[in-house]
């Protein structure tokens, strides 16, 4: 009988009015509270009657004020509070205007029977049903995410139990706020219901109902209150299970990926501890791969874009030469077949920089230039020793053939910007429209 569904002490709604708080905390405690209240109010006679009515009105006032305050502060949809509000007003109206006769009075006009007490409970539940169902459906999402919790709690307690526990990811959606408003309304409605049932029991006792009826009426009512959300919860259990299965599948995919990538790399690193350079390259390549994966880009689809193709090219040269290459993309674009020479020339420029750059960092910057001559431009720069272009021996054909020749054959240009001590920059330009042959 322990209060296993106690909400966190710091939870916002734990500061609700007393009966509502107890009710949310534990249905058993709520039941005990109602029974004790019923006995006490019955013993007090007509004073108890008045007290029950006052308590209902006071609770209504507090709950309505809170619901409005929440709606105002959060600037959320006020559907939940509005439905709750109408229930309170209806209840208050029925109790405050005896000349119209209340259902309680109708039921207790004659000697109370078990049937009629139960009927009164059903009417009460019917009044509260919209609130319960609304609140219940709004809470389903939050409850599905929570790995612990009872159906009761999921429907009535705070959607963020124990402050950020159940992995809702920290990011709050507006849905959460709406759910909170609905929870306020549902909580208030339950509080009103409990007091109404105490009132019915008190009145029944005054009209000479049997002890069994007086006691059983709130018991049946509360069982229904606990049972209805539980049934609703059973319906959503299927949905939650499906979500859990999806999560499990996802987790498996993550595990498989980490195994194929990170764990493999760890194994390689352990075998290559004697070769720091190789370890460095392995770490670097793995880091790139992991970053790409974390960013949600598909590794396979990478080379379909300029950014992906250039990064793949950079990875290749890093792997070959053990250098560090930083790739920066100002404008991305799809890679077309005719971009192939640009990528090949970039690769050769990077190899050149890796061979002659003296280990200095290499940077790639790619951009698209606009009209009047739209083109893709790739800058490859190393901060190495640089060279005198004219002094390159004729037999070193790398730059001339594989970079300049390649670009010109494709209708583009390659400019080499270097001087001793000033590093080297190769600028590759591929116009969208090939230039007219001269």
């Amino acid at each position: 009988m322990s209060a296993s569904v106690h909400p966190g002490p710091g939870s916002r709604q734990a500061r609700l009015v007393g009966p509502a708080h107890r009710l949310r905390a534990d249905p058993v405690a709520a039941l005990a509270l109602v029974l004790a209240g019923t006995v006490a109010l019955t013993a007090l006679g007509s004073l108890g009657h008045t007290l029950a009515l006052s308590a209902l009105l006071a609770t209504t006032g507090v709950v309505v004020a809170r619901a409005l305050a929440v709606a105002w502060r959060r600037r959320v949809t006020i559907v939940g509070p509005a439905v709750g509000l109408s229930v309170y007003l209806l209840a208050a109206f029925l109790f405050a205007r005896p000349s119209y006769g209340t259902w309680a009075q109708m039921l207790t006009h004659e000697r109370m029977t078990m049937d009629k007490a139960f009927g009164g409970t059903v009417v009460t539940l019917a009044l509260a049903a919209p609130v319960l169902v609304f609140a219940g459906t709004r809470r389903v999402a939050g409850w599905r995410r929570a790995s612990v919790g009872t159906p009761w709690r999921s429907l009535v307690a705070s959607p963020e139990p124990a402050a950020g526990g159940a992995g809702s990811g920290g990011r709050r959606s507006t849905g959460t706020e709406a759910r909170r408003g609905a929870a306020e309304a549902a909580t208030g409605a339950l509080a009103a219901l409990v007091i109404m049932m105490a009132y019915v029991s008190t009145e029944s006792a005054q009209r000479g109902a049997s002890v069994g009826t007086v006691v059983l009426s709130p018991v049946v009512g509360l069982l229904a209150l606990v049972g209805a959300p539980a049934l609703l919860a059973l319906v959503v259990v299927g949905r939650r299970d499906r979500a859990e299965r999806e999560l499990a599948v996802h987790r498996q995919a993550v595990a498989a990926h980490l195994h194929d990538s990170v764990l493999q790399t760890f194994a390689l690193i352990q075998r290559n501890l004697h070769d720091p350079e190789r370890v460095r390259r392995l770490v670097r390549t793995q880091e790139r791969e992991l970053r790409t994966w974390l960013s949600g880009r598909e590794v396979d689809a990478l080379e379909a874009t300029l950014a992906g193709a250039l990064r793949a090219t950079a990875d290749l040269v890093e792997e070959e030469h053990g250098v560090t290459i930083e790739v920066e993309i100002l404008d991305d674009a799809d890679v077309l077949e005719r971009d192939r020479p640009l990528l090949d020339a970039t690769r050769e420029a990077l190899r050149n920089a890796a061979r002659h750059g003296g280990g200095a960092a290499i940077r790639v910057l790619a951009e698209r230039t606009g009209p009047p001559h739209p083109a893709t431009v790739v800058y490859v720069r190393d901060d190495g020793p640089g060279f005198v272009p004219d002094a390159v021996a004729p037999e070193r054909r790398g730059v001339r053939d594989s970079i300049v020749g390649r670009m010109e054959a494709a209708g583009g240009t390659a400019r080499i910007d270097t001087a001793p001590g000033a590093g080297t920059e190769i600028v590759l330009t591929l116009p969208d429209e090939p230039r007219e042959p001269r």
């Binding site: 560090t324 930083e326 920066e328 993309i329 100002l330 404008d331 960092a361 940077r363 910057l365 800058y379 720069r381 901060d383 000033a422 590093g423 920059e425």
Partner: protein, 223 residues
């Protein structure tokens, strides 16, 4: 308790406070900076960092972006509230521009990644002490992207776009050129390059441009 001398004598070693939650990283940086800088304090979290900087009034704070207790942005806010004039150089292990832009907007005058070479780090600290921004290639590329569709503005005081000169300087930075090399290539003095970069830094801190503001809003930098 703020630094009394905003323009200290450049011939003296800069007084540096080192803020990073990894003791190993701090000891590594301490070793690398020993000859060129005077480490006057160290801290491992936000509260300690604020207290140490206010107590020692250093020239430069080397500030890790990811700190327990609120991150570098919290430290920068507190230092600004205390009217501390120490220059802050942010150190980031990530190369994600959002982290970098967040600290820049909170008042850091530059950032470098933790993979920087010791010599470059010393240079960056000296530049930071002189009140000049340290603008890495990655940050330059981010700014170019953020301002890509912006208007070309006439003067440096227009916050919504870059001047052609600023754009050219950033473009060179993104390609990996150092301030001095940019000056040579653009035929302007290194001081002029620095003032262009300063203007861009100010725009980055103050502009309402969509992409920058979105980063800032997500990081809780805009109230």
């Amino acid at each position: 308790m703020s630094a009394p001398n905003p323009n200290p004598d450049p011939s003296t070693p800069p007084r540096v406070v080192l803020v990073d939650d990894h003791e190993l990283f701090r000891s590594g940086v301490r070793g690398e900076l020993r000859d060129a800088c005077e480490i006057v304090g160290e801290a491992g979290d936000v509260a300690e960092a604020i207290a140490t900087v206010l107590r020692t009034a250093p020239d430069v704070v080397l500030l890790d972006v990811h700190l327990p207790g609120g991150g570098a942005v919290e430290v920068l806010r507190a230092l600004r509230a205390a009217r501390c004039t120490a220059q802050v150089l942010a150190l980031s292990v990530s190369d994600a521009p959002d982290d970098v832009v967040a600290v820049i907007r909170a008042g850091a005058s530059g950032y470098v990644t933790k993979t920087i070479s010791p010599a470059d780090l010393v240079d960056a600290i000296r530049t930071t002490r002189a009140g000049e921004p340290v603008f890495g290639p990655r940050l330059a590329a981010f700014v170019l992207r953020a301002f890509a569709d912006g208007p070309v503005v006439a003067g440096p005081d227009d916050l919504e776009g870059l001047t052609p000169r600023e754009r050219e300087v950033l473009h060179h930075l993104a390609r990996g050129y150092a301030y001095k090399q940019i000056g040579l290539r653009m035929d302007i003095s290194p001081r002029t390059v620095e003032s262009h970069v300063s203007a861009v830094l100010r725009k980055l801190q103050l502009t309402s441009r969509h992409e920058v503001s979105r980063w800032a809003a997500e990081r809780g930098l805009l109230e």
